[in-house]
């Protein structure tokens, strides 16, 4: 019984990896095939926005895969295909947007947040250390002892 569950669990992990691309394309050159696979992983499907072209089964994704295939096999470079797509759909079509002023927050925002977090952490730790390091003077000690002794009487 347990074994069955383990197998099922195992299979569930696999299903996530399956891609929806169903067309079969023939490539004469290995580098073309590699570029094609790279392109459809990097380009976003505009219809189902959280999927790339390789994972999407939308009509537009199929057309754009076909377009990519034709461009790759006609010998166009990675940059040429990226230019073709961004000319039509903007930077949004790229899963890895270019670094420029309009995308600066997207690229560097997480690091800014990390810096803020680190600063807060360090300041807090320093404050805490100061609190524990502060100790009483001898005079305060005897005063405290006096008070405690008083209370016991």
């Amino acid at each position: 019984m347990m074994k069955k569950w383990i197998v099922l669990l195992f299979l569930m992990f696999f299903s996530v990896q399956l891609h929806a691309a169903i067309e079969i394309y023939q490539f004469e050159k290995a580098e073309h095939e590699q570029l094609y696979k790279q392109m459809i992983d990097e380009l976003r499907c505009l219809v189902c926005q959280n999927q790339n072209l390789s994972a999407s089964n939308a009509g537009l994704a199929r057309d754009l895969r076909q377009q990519t295939y034709e461009m790759v096999t006609s010998g166009q470079s990675h940059q040429q295909i990226v230019d073709y797509m961004t000319q039509r759909y903007g930077d949004f079509v790229l899963y890895r947007p270019p670094v420029k002023s309009s995308t600066a927050l997207l690229w560097f925002g997480p690091f800014i947040l990390l810096l803020i977090g680190l600063t807060v952490l360090i300041v807090t730790l320093k404050k805490r250390k100061q609190l524990t390091e502060e100790s009483l003077t001898d005079e305060q000690h005897s005063q405290m002892k006096h008070l405690l002794d008083d209370g016991e009487k």
């Binding site: 505009l46 219809v47 926005q49 009509g59 537009l60 057309d63 754009l64 377009q67 961004t86 000319q87 039509r88 759909y89 903007g90 949004f92």
Partner: protein
């Protein structure tokens, strides 16, 4: 003061998320606004041996309305387009996107044909050239052939009144 910091952060987050709610992630801004409309040369729906090209529209303010008979939102939008053409002197080219010509003709017969011409984009290539990703879409092109506005999704009467008509009037006054 010390205790108000979390509250301030909370309200900043509320504002940030609140603004996020008003944005539509499905609206991808077109990189074509302010740029020359991609040219096309496509067969006409009602005269498949003749073709219509974007060159034919030079010197006029015109609209390109992307539609298909399989598109549900287009059906609702079509009445708005019909009314626009009926009430104003506007030339609209219909781009019949990845459709069958029989279905397209039947659809126009049923709902009316507001287009000066219907271009048939059976394989969707022209659609890709224009950056179409969701039908219906509508483009406003000026006299110089520059795309000035793109409406993603169905055009509503409010869009016509508030955005499209004022823009057309303004563009028609510009020199060609």
């Amino acid at each position: 003061m010390k205790n108000s910091l979390p509250l301030i952060l909370f309200f900043l987050l509320v504002i940030l998320l609140g603004v996020g709610l008003t944005l539509d992630p499905r609206e991808v801004p077109s990189p074509y606004i302010g740029k020359a409309a991609p040219s096309f040369n496509l067969p006409k729906l009602y005269a498949s041996t003749e073709s219509i090209s974007s060159e034919d529209m030079k010197g006029k303010v015109w609209l390109l309305n992307v539609w298909a008979s399989w598109c549900r939102a287009c059906r609702a939008e079509h009445q708005v387009i019909n009314r626009l053409v009926k009430n104003h002197q506007i030339e609209i080219i219909g781009l019949n996107y990845k459709d069958g010509s029989d279905q397209a003709k039947q659809w126009l017969e049923e709902l009316g044909n507001p287009y000066v011409s219907v271009a048939v984009d059976s394989d969707g290539r022209t659609g890709i050239d224009w950056g179409v990703y969701g039908v219906p879409e509508t483009f406003v092109v000026d006299k110089q052939g520059i795309i000035r506005y793109k409406n993603i999704g169905p055009v509503y009467q409010r869009d016509i009144k508030e955005t499209i008509l004022p823009l057309i009037v303004q563009l028609q006054q510009e020199a060609s």
